[in-house]
């Protein structure tokens, strides 16, 4: 990307819907309502963050979008392929990549085999799958570690492997559940930058769950602030700045201004939580 564009110019080309949730709720058997009613619309190629206090149901929302958890009520629509929006019941498929809070790697096998897993489960021939796994590893800067075992890697590297595994099927949508929360700040900043580079290059739709105001503003085009449990949308704040973003954005006045606005929107979500 040679010429910096404003995010609104990027949006102009993004009209198709990637994810749409309407009146989605999630109640557990014990009667606790974790989520909703929750409405969310994400356009193709958009990078949005779900931001909220612990236990507000943002991970639940992500698991519902992924099809790992069924909503108690409401409708979920996820676009699987170019232009097609499949309505109704959600089936697990390959259109979605998921990055968990922990790296969630299989410790008993090599990094390459971990990344190859989604292709293997889909029955992709071994040689082809290996080549794609190696390409995915190269895209996250881990080409030299394909034969290593997960325990031999640092926390940041494991997270990169997890990201490579989510990307290996070339999904349209990437769901990330507080992926960098357990990492130190330096590693986290570097992974933030690498994620933005990957997003710009691959044009995936990204839904990123976090409880860090600073991370959400830095990464996303839209920050969706959620209330305390049961999670609803408190605010939907658009972050518009000169793209591509880099370290200079992190120290800019506009950045701190957005962070202030997002923090202010988040404050009511915490006010009810003074009782420990």
């Amino acid at each position: 990307m040679t010429e910096p564009k404003t995010s609104s110019a990027v949006e102009a080309s993004l009209t198709a819907l990637a994810v749409s949730l309407r009146g989605v709720t999630k109640a557990y058997d014990n009667g606790v309502t974790a989520l909703g009613p929750f409405d969310l619309t994400v356009r193709k190629g958009e990078f949005i963050s779900l931001l909220g206090p612990s236990g507000c149901g943002k991970s639940t929302a992500l698991r519902i979008i992924a099809g790992l958890s069924a909503p108690s009520s409401g409708t979920v629509r996820v676009a699987r392929h170019e232009g097609s929006v499949q309505p109704g019941h959600l089936r697990p498929g390959h259109g979605i990549g998921f990055v968990f809070q922990e790296p969630t790697l299989m410790p008993w096998t090599s990094v390459r085999e971990n990344v190859r897993l989604p292709l293997r489960l889909a029955g992709v021939p071994k040689a082809d799958a290996r080549a794609r796994a190696d390409a995915a590893l190269a895209s996250v800067g881990l080409a030299d570690f394909a034969d290593a075992y997960p325990r031999e890697l640092s926390g940041g590297m494991k997270m990169r492997v997890s990201l490579a595994r989510a990307l290996v099927t070339d999904p349209d949508i990437l769901l990330m559940d507080e992926p960098f929360a357990a990492l130190d700040e330096i590693t986290r900043f570097r992974l933030n930058n690498d994620l933005l580079v990957l997003w710009r290059r691959l044009g995936k739709t990204v839904i990123f769950v976090t409880h860090s105001v600073f991370e959400s503003v830095y990464l996303s085009q839209r920050v969706v602030v959620m209330t305390a449990r049961p999670g609803r949308i408190q605010a939907d704040i658009r972050v518009e700045t000169v793209e591509p973003r880099g370290e200079e954005f992190r120290t800019s006045a506009a950045y701190s201004d957005y962070c202030r606005r997002v923090s202010a929107a988040l404050a009511p979500s915490y006010s009810g939580q003074s009782t420990l």
Binding site: L68, P92, I96, F100, T104, M106, W108, T109, L121, Y149
Partner: protein
């Protein structure tokens, strides 16, 4: 947040060597004391044979004892294999169906808590002797394999299971690529216990069978030698049984280490 100083004391090479040397010294000292007491007090071999006499008996009776050793080891191996296959297979069935688990698990516990020495005479009535002995070894060794495998299959990482679900893995794929590898350390732990237990089961059954009829295992030799007051041979057979137990444990521990060494905490060194 301050950096924590490592608390673990790293054992130096000398310390590690002492872990092997000290038990050997204790063993040697015990043997010398035993030998001396027997010689100085002039204790007859039919009361307490000296270690040297036991070793000589072992050499002299090697033909008989080695055949008995082979018999006992074969029984142990058969019982162990049956327990391994049966325990793992039943755990897999339990894992697939809660109803089967609820229906059968109590009986697996009953089988475990009933002393095998009390079951052996009954088995000997209904089964052929060789079969009965193997079944005893199986009964004793079966439960740890079953319970450890069950534990392992239930210890699969929730997120990994979610990942398999997300990518539409079939039940056989989930079993082969996720559940069995995740359960492997537990299964190997169960097998390590089962190895020693199947030897115990075989010995118990042989002793029970020994009074009933012809037998040729090591435990039968011990019982037989006892009736004949051939105390040195009793000790020699006991020594062989003990060595067999150590070797079985060592082999299984080695297999476990070789299988897990690249990834599981239990097989990794203390230093990272």
């Amino acid at each position: 947040m301050s950096a924590q100083a490592p608390i673990t004391v790293r054992s130096s090479g000398a310390q590690r060597a002492m872990r092997f040397v000290l038990p050997v010294i204790v063993f040697a000292a015990g043997l010398v004391a035993w030998e001396l007491v027997v010689r100085i007090k002039g204790i007859p071999p039919y009361v307490l044979p000296a270690p040297s006499v036991i070793v000589l008996t072992l050499i002299k009776d090697w033909t008989v004892l080695s055949q008995s050793l082979a018999t006992t080891l074969l029984t142990t191996l058969e019982g162990f294999l049956a327990a391994s296959v049966g325990g793992i297979a039943l755990a897999l069935v339990f894992n697939q169906s809660k109803w089967v688990e609820y229906s059968l698990f109590p009986y697996a516990i009953v089988l475990q808590v009933t002393p095998v020495i009390a079951i052996a005479p009954l088995l000997l009535i209904y089964l052929e002797q060789q079969t009965a002995v193997v079944v005893c070894a199986f009964i004793v060794a079966f439960f740890p394999v079953l319970s450890n495998t069950t534990l392992g299959l239930n210890s699969v990482d929730r997120n990994l299971a979610g990942l398999f679900q997300l990518y539409g893995a079939s039940p056989p794929q989930t079993l082969r690529l996720l559940k069995l590898p995740a359960a492997l350390p537990y299964i190997l732990g169960g097998l390590r216990i089962a190895g020693g237990l199947s030897l115990i089961g075989a010995v118990v059954a042989e002793i029970a069978a020994g009074t009933a009829g012809a037998g040729s295992g090591l435990a039968y030799r011990i019982a037989e030698s006892g009736y004949r007051l051939n105390i040195p041979r009793m000790f020699a057979a006991l020594l062989l049984l003990s060595l067999a137990g150590i070797v079985i444990y060592g082999v299984l521990a080695l297999v476990s280490h070789l299988v897990l060494r690249r990834w599981h905490e239990s097989a990794l060194g203390k230093e990272d």
